[in-house]
Amino acid sequence: MTGVSSEGPLVGKLAQRAIAVTAGLFEMGDPPRLLASSCNECGQPHFPRQETCPYCSADGCTDIELSNNGTLWAWTAVTSAPPGYKGAVPYGFGVVELPEGIRIVTRLTESDPARLSYGEPVHLEIVPVYQDEDGRDVVTFAFAADASDAPVQGGE
């Protein structure tokens, strides 16, 4: 199930000059990865990584990498910039379900809700959000519909 975004918009082109919006959430590699952990006690996966399980309070969790492919569970688009936001609008926003049994709140590369549907296959990409003072792309994770795997999404 991997390799879907091996030619993704950023990995190749921008990775060298790109910086993550925050550390510890994802790897920008090829393919990219979301960094999660799994509880040694109850077995539930959680994101982002932490030592204590947010579901059963047990200490001791093991790092896992989540699947890059999932299905769309809920979606919308943000049409005006929320306070503090440094990117462009509109942008897609939603929840994606992954096979590990976890639902991730995420940006979506598709900003037209009418072009998305419940349960449709999606995959992980790393996308630019804005440029910092040094002209570097600040990137974050997002999910894109497999069906509309356009080379670069405008407006992002």
Partner: protein
Amino acid sequence: MDRVEVAGVGMHPFGRFPDVSLTQMGVVAVRAALKEAGVERGGFQAAFCGTAYGGVASGHKVLGAIGMTGMPIVDVEAGCASGGAALMLAASSIASGQYETVLVFGIEKMPKGMIRSSFFEPWQEESGMSATPAYFALRAQRLMQTSGVTKEHLARVVVKNRSQGVLNCDAMYRSLVSEGEVLSSRLVCEPLHLWMLCSPNEGAAAVVLTRAPSHGANAGLTRESRASSVSLLAAVLRSHLPGPVLGESTPMAGLVESHVVASGEDGAFVNEATLPSATTLAARSAYEEAGVGPEDLDVVECQDTDAARELLSYEELGLCSDGGAGAFFATGATERGGRLPVNMSGGLLSKGEPLGASALGQVVELVRQLRGDAGDRQVDGARVALSHTVGRGANAGVVILRG
């Protein structure tokens, strides 16, 4: 446990008042409530002030301005349920026998537009993960999927609440709107249009609670005030259980239909779909404490931060079955003149939402309803009432009152 009564209520209207300070708004509401209760300086032993954006010692500034200090003053932050949290603390301090009379008030002065919340990390704001209406929209979409709710229902919730706001001089929006107008207002986050979202604004509300006189005594209250007394049967605050991705706890991830450890719920494993929300936990606890059920309610004020949130609350509060919100609303039960009118104050969709004050604003409305004092908005013969607020945290407050 001692019985708790509402001795007086007061409001500063909800709206936008560039020339009125946060403290001044609080003073207006507090003085009105104290006057109605016949409580003077030295007549209350503690004060609880709900505010989310007020800043350091907001409650002290209000009471300092009118020379009523010396007692403990506790400022309480619990997001949209800040006033509910303050009320819970105040009520339990009386019920436990600690105090005789306690002042509770909520104050807020918020900028226009989308709420900026210190809840989010800077990176979440910078990368677009802090758009509050987007979370509301995702929740609304799920409700449309699971509960037979349509976009037309969402518009009609706004029409219903705004038609009541017309009758409320404490509301910010006081004009009628049509379903078509709501649906043609600007799309904020599909399926939510601008008028389906309440506006963060300014205002204050205050409530004086007092221990109910023991049987036979009248504690110096006049015959009139005794006849119109309102009992506080329950004031409950609860937080969320871990698991649901779109709960008000606003996590970055949640669990699929797999089993979740419901801490605080006997450590039992329950399915995500049946995991009680913060609102449901608060409602169950409040019904039990009050000794009433949803079927006993005559009038309800619930959290209509957005139109879908009101419909979701119907299910969480047990006003209708799970998955039945759309059908229940379509019966007209929650309209004026229906079996269980909801948000007869106009709701937050008409009043706006000053976070710290909104929960107590609901209580003010319900006390007036139960006294038969709600003017054109009066629900005839209202005897038992419930108010509900929920917001980020998650925090959920449920209050049950009896006239």
